[in-house]
């Protein structure tokens, strides 16, 4: 599903943030991604959702070399990826229901399906009573759950989550991880970037660790 070959990322010349990254993520897999702040976790995830081009090396996504993709091909690949951003990135002037419905609208889902699925999922993440609220009225943890609901609503083939449990308590974090596991069992590949060691210890999945620009599979 994802294949990185000798990938370098440099923001300043000759100082690679990531160096000679070789990575292979198969379908139906679950990985954690760890590393200290500034280690390059977000850069690695950005390359996976095609928001960052590597300075060197090759990236394959869903069997396609990403070097010379056309705009519509990039969009088609991104439609298969769900992203949970560290800063949530909810659209402030849309209700929670509309925020979560956005990926379905992008996929061209019918209104009937949107009306059925969105409340179901929001109910599942514990926000069933906030359908018509706006992001500003929610706490950080609630916004995080909305962001996760939005990322998974369209049943992506790959879910990339950047610190998805960073703003929620342990109970909610665990619940969210069960949601990720459920998606994983349903066939979605998951990559979760996190600092939360308890979570990593509790859920026994392989860990990619970034240290000094290198990626190590633990």
């Amino acid at each position: 599903m994802i294949r990185f070959q000798e990938v370098d990322v440099c923001y300043t010349p000759d100082k690679p943030v990531l160096s000679k990254i070789n990575l292979k993520i198969d379908s139906d897999s679950f990985h954690f991604l760890t590393g200290t702040s500034g280690a390059g976790k977000s850069s690695l995830l950005k390359m996976m959702y095609l928001a960052l081009k590597p300075s060197k090396g090759h990236i394959e996504m869903f069997g396609r070399d990403t070097a010379n993709l056309k705009m519509f091909e990039v969009s088609n690949i991104r439609k298969r990826i769900g992203i949970v951003f560290q800063d949530f990135r909810l659209i402030q002037n849309l209700s929670i229901r509309e925020n979560v419905a956005l990926p379905l609208r992008i996929h061209g889902a019918k209104a009937k399906i949107i009306q059925r699925h969105v409340p179901e999922l929001l109910d599942w993440v514990g926000l069933g009573d906030h359908l018509d609220s706006f992001p500003v009225s929610l706490s950080g943890g609630e916004q995080q759950r909305v962001a996760i609901a939005r990322a998974v609503i369209a049943r992506p083939s790959l879910l990339l989550a950047d610190e998805p449990t960073g703003n929620v308590d342990d109970k909610i974090a665990e619940r969210l991880m069960y949601l990720f596991e459920e998606l994983y069992r349903a066939g979605t590949s998951i990559v979760v970037a996190t600092h939360n060691k308890d979570l990593i210890n509790e859920f026994d999945y392989p860990v990619f660790h970034i240290t000094e620009g290198n990626l190590i599979l633990q």
Binding site: A51, F72, K79, L94, P103, R105, I106, H107
Partner: protein, 291 residues
């Protein structure tokens, strides 16, 4: 989803006023075209015969005057519908605006005969029939000044069309600027949608819906106000200048035919359609440049 209330209000007013001007201009062009065509058709089959020394003895019939001889001949000529002889007072009335009274007193006025033909003019045939009969009779089919008038009408009409097209271009340019402003102001949301796989087409659709809500009502209201204005103006002109604008309040409705009214009514719709295409293209192009 996309925030830009201030720019949209500004755009709404621009479109309303521009479509107002466009509809007024288009209606002006169509009225000018329709009226001039009708008027030219009405004078197309008319010739004016000028008879000098009308009361002198006829060269071909001693019992008649020159005028009587010509009138007799015209009455038996095929293809002539109506003959109207202008008396001296009518002739003076025609010349009053152009010549002073002193000059008019000094010259021998010819008698004018307006001849209405049943078919398009054949000046040569009439000239031969009458000119060969009585010397010193001239026939004028008005082609000289008619050509100049047609040229002038064409210039006015073309100018009207140019103004109409320029107004539409200004409208579309305003939309492009509004789109550019919207993209700049909503960069984060657009970037998010892009990362979710909503490519340029999906974003362009969002813009189209938003712009349609702004320009749709503006274009329709602008057109409606323009048509109301034209009827009020028509009524005013008919009332205050009845000699120049004869008719009633409904005359504007009668001057233009069904197709011309359809063209006027379709102006806002065509504009909305063009705007949506402009929105689509400008969003796709601008986003393409950003990537």
């Amino acid at each position: 989803m996309l925030k830009n209330k201030a720019a949209n209000i500004f755009l709404a007013w621009i479109i309303l006023s521009m479509i107002y001007l466009a509809v007024v201009t288009l209606t002006g062009v169509l009225i000018s075209n329709s009226s001039s065509k009708e008027w030219l058709e009405s004078v197309d089959n008319v010739v004016t015969v000028q008879v000098s020394d009308p009361n002198a003895k006829s060269e071909v019939d001693v019992a008649s005057t020159r005028l009587e001889t010509i009138v007799k001949k015209l009455r038996i000529t095929a293809g002539i519908n109506k003959i109207e002889i202008f008396d001296e007072e009518q002739t003076l009335g025609l010349l009053n605006s152009w010549l002073s009274q002193d000059i008019l007193n000094d010259i021998n006025l010819p008698t004018l005969i307006e001849v209405k033909l049943s078919k398009p003019i054949n000046k040569e045939q009439i000239s031969q029939t009458i000119g060969s009969l009585i010397p010193g009779v001239s026939i004028d089919d008005h082609s000289r000044w008619k050509q100049k008038l047609i040229f002038l009408i064409d210039i006015i009409e073309n100018l009207g069309w140019i103004i109409f097209i320029l107004i539409l271009i200004v409208c579309l340019a305003s939309i492009i600027f509004a789109i550019a402003m919207n993209i700049a102001n909503n960069g984060e949301v657009i970037n998010l949608i892009d990362l979710m796989g909503g490519g340029s087409s999906f974003i362009a659709e969002i813009f189209q819906k938003q712009i349609l809500l702004v320009i749709g009502p503006s274009a329709l209201i602008g057109s409606l106000i323009a048509i109301v204005t034209l009827f009020i103006l028509n009524d005013y002109l008919v009332t205050t200048l009845p000699d120049i604008f004869p008719g009633s309040i409904s005359s504007l409705g009668e001057v233009l035919n069904f197709w011309e009214w359809s063209l006027i009514a379709s102006t806002p719709l065509v504009f909305i359609f063009l705007s949506l295409i402009t929105v689509w293209v400008s969003v796709v192009v601008l986003l393409g440049k950003l990537k």
